[in-house]
């Protein structure tokens, strides 16, 4: 029977020949990821349900990555990390990336990729809604709550309703000033914040396959902002190249059958894409950057799992090099590896880190930081009426801290161009020079 990539992965993990959308199935889980915000609750439920001395179903398959509230004085937040430490010790878990050690990574979705936990054909659940990011590796990945995570910890299984698939295909070539983030904001604006609820967003087309793994991760990262269950891009040579040196575990590459059933299919001409922002207070509040150039800004924020990877900072540095920012500009690498790359990667002999510092931007420690507001002392948090342009993924009221602040979501190019002028600015103004 003809199936999509997502259907094939789910069928394989349910021990079935085939599945169709709407089927409720139990699947075997390859990886369970949790972090400091949801880990303690998950552990609590696991112990309550399976007993104080219960062991996790497979210690090799549990990955714990503290990333949300790690550089704060908040005593409850720090206590939560202690709970993770204790659990890791008690269960002897090999994949724990502790704060304050050389092993610390940063934002979980990017760390999962960098540490080789994302593998084509596998099923990964995480207690974070942006777990859909891993779909960039041709796998099924989605976010769950503490209860479901505790259930997996005890059993290695979870029930899933097979989603319908929506396919977004891009033919042609993206212009050089267009990033994956623009594409995403365009599509979410087109289908709305509930446009993909319960469904899979499958990204395809030559223009998409030319994207690097980092750009592919950005593309999959915001499926949840359209309500999607998961996002997926078929694995290919680019995927295999990225996996080299990161994992040697066997994996399976699935392809969607040409005659598979889709709930929805849309083809875009990549050449026609323009820089996009999402205006406050919703990721689907789409506008072309050119329509918003009179919006005055207080702050530019470049970071998070969506916009804090090396590709994102290379883009920002191209614009900021040799110039000065006009507004407060925050640079937050997603992970340690990205942070190290900021020092290693050079443009005309100057490291990206130096480019940012010389431009007057502030560099933060790798973590989620102000992407989700967090405790009051969080780096880059909006604490009053700031108007912010940000490469993050959500601009709901209060998401970056204050309910009075206003957040515009954009690509790193647009966030950097806007940092230079103090109002929303089309990156073409600088890139064409």
């Amino acid at each position: 029977m003809a199936m999509t990539v997502t259907e094939k992965i789910l069928a394989a993990h349910a021990g079935k020949e085939s599945v169709v959308p709407g089927d409720n199935i139990w699947v075997d889980v390859d990886v369970l990821m949790t972090h400091d915000v949801c880990g303690p609750g998950t552990i609590g439920i696991f112990k309550e349900q399976f007993g104080q001395n219960a062991k996790v179903w497979d210690r090799e398959k549990v990955v714990i990555i503290p990333d949300h509230y790690v550089f704060t004085k908040d005593k409850h937040a720090n206590r939560n990390i202690d709970i993770l430490r204790e659990f890791v010790k008690e269960q002897d878990l090999p994949y724990y990336y502790d704060v304050g050690t050389d092993n610390y990574k940063g934002v979980c979705h990017i760390a999962l990729a960098q540490e080789g936990h994302n593998r084509p054909g596998e099923i990964l659940f995480g207690t974070d809604s942006h777990t859909c990011t891993s779909g960039a590796f041709g796998m099924f990945s989605t976010g769950i709550g503490n209860t479901d995570a505790a259930f997996i910890l005890g059993t290695g299984k979870l029930w899933v309703k097979v989603p319908e698939t929506m396919r977004f295909e891009f033919t042609g070539t993206f212009p050089p000033y267009i990033m994956a983030k623009d594409i995403l904001l365009q599509v979410i604006g087109d289908i709305g914040v509930d446009g993909a609820t319960y469904r899979t967003m499958e990204w395809a087309g030559d223009a998409v396959y030319r994207f690097s793994m980092e750009e592919r991760m950005t593309l999959c990262n915001m499926a949840i902002e359209a309500g999607g269950k998961n996002a997926v891009i078929e694995a290919d040579e680019v995927t295999l190249e990225y996996l080299k040196g990161r994992t040697d575990k066997p994996h399976t590459i699935h392809h969607s059958d040409p005659d598979a059933n889709y709930y929805y299919k849309k083809t875009y001409n990549a050449d026609e894409m323009v820089p996009i922002v999402a205006k406050p207070h919703s990721p689907d509040n789409k506008a072309a950057v050119t329509e918003c150039t009179d919006v005055k800004l207080d702050r530019s924020y470049i970071g998070s799992c969506t916009g804090g990877k090396l590709t994102d900072f290379i883009a920002a540095a191209k614009l900021l090099k040799g110039k000065k920012v006009a507004i407060d500009t925050f640079i937050v690498p997603a992970t340690r590896e990205v942070e190290q790359d900021l020092y290693k990667t050079k443009m005309d002999g100057e490291s990206l880190a130096d480019i940012f510092k010389n431009a007057g931007a502030l560099l933060g420690e790798p973590s989620c930081a102000a992407c989700l507001g967090g405790p009051k002392d969080t780096f880059g948090r909006a604490n009053s009426t700031e108007v912010v342009i940000s490469t993050t993924n959500r601009n709901f009221p209060g998401r970056m801290g204050s309910k009075q602040s206003q957040v515009y979501l954009s690509s790193p190019y647009t966030a950097a161009a806007s940092a230079l002028t103090g109002h929303i600015t089309d990156p073409r103004e600088f890139l064409n020079n």
Partner: protein, 187 residues
Amino acid sequence: MKKTIEGKAYVLGNDVDTDQIIPAEHLVYSLTDPEEKKNYGKFALSGVPQEAAGLPDGNHAFVDEGKFESEYTILIGGKNFGCGSSREHAPACLKIAGIQAVVAESFARIFYRNSVDGGFFIPFESKVRMTDDIKTGDTLLIDLGAETLTNKTSGKSFSLKSLGEVIDIIEAGNIFEYARKTGLIAK
């Protein structure tokens, strides 16, 4: 499982996200410690903008200053209720504040799933938009058998969508009880 749920309505609009339900800065409290857990009731829905807090008028505190529980026990929402993060603190905080049912035009997937699997309350989907016909403070009656919601204050009735296959998990109590009943995990 109870046959009816009766209580006072608290009405919200479309796209109520998890940061409005429980702002991220409060996610640090323990969900297992009974004393600390109360804070989730205190801060439930504290991220909703003033003008949208308790429609149609707004400016109705969901939980009064200094309290940990709400006088409202049934939440009415529009489309895409609970969108945003996967934090289970969202359905948990509503339950801790005393919510017994959330009735919305549609739900975001993870919030819906968390409500059912965690056994916090029953998420009902309405067949029509209700947010124009129910005011914050109205007395509502949900009849599970008849799959209806009646606004006792105005007399108007609405039909609810069937709960479908998740009814088995709801009836069992949560995903663990369901798995025990069906033999997937040991009793």
